[in-house]
Amino acid sequence: MMSAALIVFLILFVAVTVLGFIAARWRQGDLSQLHEWGLGGRRFGTIVTWFLLGGDLYTAYTFVAVPALMFGAGAMGFFAVPYTILVYPILFAVYPRLWSVSRARGYITAADFVRGRFGNRTLALAVAATGILATMPYIALQLVGMEVVIAGLGIRGEAALFIAFAILAAYTYTSGLRAPAMIAVVKDLLIYITVLAAVIIIPAKLGGYSAIFASVEPDKLLLAKDGVRDFGSESAYVTLALGSALALFLYPHALTGVLSASSRNVIRRNAAILPAYSLALGLIALLGFMAIAAGVKSNPAYAAGFATYGNNYAVPALFLEMFPGWFVGVAFAAIAIGALVPAAIMSIATANLFTRNIYREYIAPDCAPERESQVAKIASLVVKLGALFFIVFLPQTYAIQLQLLGGIWIIQTLPAVLLGLYTRWLHPTALLTGWATGIVAGTAMAASLQFKGSIYTLHIFGFALPCYAALSALVLNLIVAVALSALFNALSNAPREDETAAADYH
């Protein structure tokens, strides 16, 4: 017999699937052109972009993993809040320039821009490869979010995951970016309903917010401080937030959302209205503490879930404990659909990178636009299959560790992509050397931590400074890029290729 939760879940899931296929006809364009399939024709206005980016950045994995981190590690998990505050001034100030130049020159990826700005194929390839490698494990992690809620519904085995992914692959193939844009609207409405219900109903049942915070162990409630000459987890917290904020819009899926906007003002308006999701995320993070207060870990009903999925089971267990069956269906559907949206956008963004910056640049330079779009569609299938393979056949910790490395890698493209928007003083060979230095140093720092974490303690003038490895590697990258640029520019003042003009950036 099917539970009420499962019936509601299935109805919502089927409705979203139908929507995904209908999306192909929405604001109809010629889907045999890559900018139509892979960027929705750059036609999304303020509201659609808000839903699309909201669905893209605040993923199912986020909604499961952030409260799980709060549940297990406490205050440290709250770094998601300063992270998502700091990201919007950056989006507002910098990315309209990238939108404008991409619009003017027909760029679809960050590597397209780097290729045009610096006229250097190898640097563009480095940016494209970094984007692809950083995104693939991220897609795999979306499946983890989905797997956990499917298990919460009492369905075991991987068959359900296969079906969900086959559906996702089919409508991404036919509809391109229009599918996740349309589905994101449903997903976000479900998320907001769930969050609203959760922050009202659950605290009422647990005796209010003061009772919830009182039930959290004191050492989890605040960041640990280790002594006078050691910044403890406070510096880890801040650098994690800052580094993540700098990295976020360098991710191909985030950039795809930005470039699909219909004007630069759409991006700036969104920097002001996307924080609504950050507020929801902050409240979702607190679900981790509510799960502590509800005592789900010691409840034998959830022992099997915690045994398989660890702390990631905290939120599903909390919902099962607190909500009536039918509403559990709504909440779980919100999370599962919340996995489909970013997974679709990530696979499209990766496919755009492969097609534009590897296939057309190195394999078939003269390919027709129809061929380009076709290659991208197939690439999006391959990417998703790879992610599925990853989750089903390899230990889940591999995906988590690779995603952690992905954050360290993607931030190394910042000098070429973001500083490149303001100056061409930086020399492409210097940028490439800086990028390689950052990748090697960041990976070495993570390796010294056995890939279990990304907080590497720097020792400077007798002070111990725990710092997010992505950020310290980026500083190294910048030092190398600037120093070598000064050297190369002094040695030769031969003009360098730059197909963009100053007017393209406004």
């Binding site: 205050a75 300063p82 505050i85 409630l221 759409v266 002001a272």
Partner: protein, 77 residues
């Protein structure tokens, strides 16, 4: 680009974008429980408060930059 006084004024307003970084960079300042608000420790409500404040700070910057710039309005259909 507007030059002279307008340009300087615009840059000053742009500095508002740095405020979220300044108020969040020193975790030592907000890593404490008191003063609590309705049972919520300072660490949590202080950071949550900066979510809407950070969004509001963008508005004056936006107003100062899009004022009188026709090309900044949605020129593309």
């Amino acid at each position: 680009m507007a030059g002279g006084k307008r340009g300087h004024w615009r840059w000053l307003v742009r500095l508002l974008l740095l405020v979220p970084f300044i108020v969040l960079i020193d975790a030592g300042f907000y890593n404490r429980t008191e003063p609590a608000l309705a049972g919520i420790p300072f660490f949590y409500w202080y950071q949550l408060l900066w979510v809407p404040l950070g969004a509001l700070l963008l508005l004056p910057v936006w107003a100062s930059e899009s004022h009188g710039r026709a090309e900044d309005r949605d020129k593309h259909p």
